[in-house]
């Protein structure tokens, strides 16, 4: 089976609009959560989020009207990742894009409905459909970089990016491509996006405190993470700088409740990812948890981690406490955090932590980063719908 490596990463999120800034923020334990600034935010019950602020993307002004924010984030993160990977021209059908998003161009839906329902207009922008379609970010990345192989979007709520990366890994392993641009993008922070989440009563009014007593729920974030996955022999042959190995992936379904998590199923996903990566539990030096900060997830995930790793498991943190829960992009932002641990020997913390919860008895890295030599990492994503997707990266 072909080994797959990471040769480029890029990101836009509430902490920073590139990888060096994001690495620095994660290492400092900075929190990107703040008051929401978009239109009609004053009509929301929950008014905090991890927004991408001061957004002035370096994108072609002639093309910008075609891009919902979900596409803009993907293109800017993608440009950073592609510059880092420095791929040769002419990959053609040997390179593709698989990108996750949960809500696609939700702001574009909102704008068009506002126009016809609230403002009484009789027409909407002709660019509405190409802006809002879920595959717009993946397609624009393919257009921008001339990638003509497998290109598609993956939508599985909070696990979208992990599923996308897993499928990208499988494309390369199976020989269907040599290079896959992957990750996720999300721009859910608009009035309708937050209003929909409010109804589930799971959003925190203050901040996100995963695994901590006093946690009040999740905080939505925006942004994109884009990673360049490449067959190892392809990367080595061209002398590319290799950041890490994409060691393994597994996905499974609870086939139970549509929203409530299932710890046994989550444990099975982690065990299967370890097996796929040919790793033992004790090889894992850092686990980036799904860690949403809800009562239900954090309890269930803690039980699942203990089931897989026993009472003396690896260091765990949830970086959602800093970049927010970027829903369909979150797995990609967390992959960037995993690469910080693997390449810089820095385990990013869970910030906002107040006190240990006996229901979440883990080796939690809280408040400040921990220096640690990390050989391999696991990153969890557990979605509504009972979908679990776990990815493993290994040091090279």
């Amino acid at each position: 089976m072909r080994r797959v490596v990471v040769t480029g990463i890029g990101t836009v999120n509430a902490l920073a609009q590139d990888v060096p800034g994001t690495f620095a923020a994660l290492a400092e334990g900075r929190c990107g959560i703040g008051p929401l600034g978009f239109r009609d935010a004053d009509r929301l019950t929950v008014r905090v989020g991890a927004e991408v602020r001061d957004w002035h993307p370096d994108l072609d002004p002639a093309q910008l009207p075609l891009y919902d924010r979900v596409t803009q984030y993907a293109l800017v993160a993608g440009a950073e990742a592609m510059a880092m990977a420095d791929l040769p021209d002419g990959l053609g059908m040997r390179a593709g894009v698989i990108l996750g998003t949960a809500a696609g161009g939700i702001q574009t839906w909102e704008d068009s409905y506002r126009a016809v329902f609230a403002d009484g207009k009789s027409r909407v922008s002709p660019l509405t459909v190409p802006r809002l379609m879920h595959n717009a970010p993946a397609s624009h990345l393919s257009i921008r970089h001339g990638l003509t192989g497998p290109v598609l979007s993956v939508s599985s709520a909070c696990a979208s990016a992990n599923h996308a990366m897993g499928l990208a890994l499988q494309q390369i392993r199976a020989g269907a491509a040599d290079v896959m641009v992957t990750g996720g993008s999300e721009a859910m922070l608009c009035f309708g996006g937050v209003k929909a989440w409010e109804g589930l009563r799971v959003l925190a009014p203050d901040t996100c405190r995963p695994f901590s007593l006093g946690r009040k729920g999740m905080v939505i974030g925006d942004g994109a993470g884009v990673l360049v996955f490449e067959a190892e022999e392809h990367a080595r042959a061209r002398g590319a700088k290799v950041l890490a190995e994409v060691a393994g992936f597994a996905m499974c379904a609870d086939a139970g409740d549509i929203v409530a998590p299932d710890p046994d199923s989550a444990a099975r996903a982690m065990q299967a990812a370890l097996a796929d990566a040919d790793l033992d539990p004790q090889d894992i030096g850092y686990l980036n948890a799904h860690g949403t900060g809800t009562l239900a997830n954090d309890r269930s995930e803690s039980a699942a981690i203990r089931q897989v790793f026993g009472p003396h498991g690896p260091p765990v943190s949830s970086t959602k406490s800093m970049h927010g829960h970027a829903i369909g992009a979150t797995g990609a932002l967390e992959a960037v955090a995993c690469l910080l641990a693997l390449t810089q020997a820095v385990i990013p913390p869970t910030v906002g932590f107040q006190a240990a919860d006996p229901d979440c008895a883990l080796d939690l890295v809280v408040t400040t980063a921990r220096a640690a030599h990390v050989e391999a990492v696991l990153s969890n994503a557990f979605a509504f719908g009972g979908l679990n997707a776990v990815i493993a990266f290994r040091k090279v």
Partner: protein, 90 residues
């Protein structure tokens, strides 16, 4: 002011609809956990109460002790709705 009996009847009707039970099977002192209402049923019932009475219920599923709104029993919900109605601008 809405009589307490009317609030009780509305609370029971809303819970009955979520639980697919005849309202007569829900006792006036029933506990929500004993009724078997799941988490989505709970947020749907809260939404229905808000729409029925024109109130905003400060309920967060992540706070186990539910400091802002007691959703543990029928009397707790009725008292909570009464309190919010009394606070609501006329």
């Amino acid at each position: 002011m809405i009589p307490r009996a009317d609030i009780e009847a509305a609370v029971i009707a809303i819970l009955a609809k979520e639980l697919l039970l005849p309202p007569a099977e829900i006792a006036l002192d029933a506990r929500i956990e004993d009724l078997g209402l799941d988490s989505l049923g709970k947020v749907e019932a809260i939404f229905a109460l808000e729409e029925r009475f024109g109130i905003t219920i400060p309920f967060n599923a992540n706070e186990p002790d539910q400091p802002d709104f007691d959703f543990v029993s029928v009397p707790g919900i009725v008292a909570g709705v009464e309190r919010l109605l009394a606070q609501a601008p006329a």
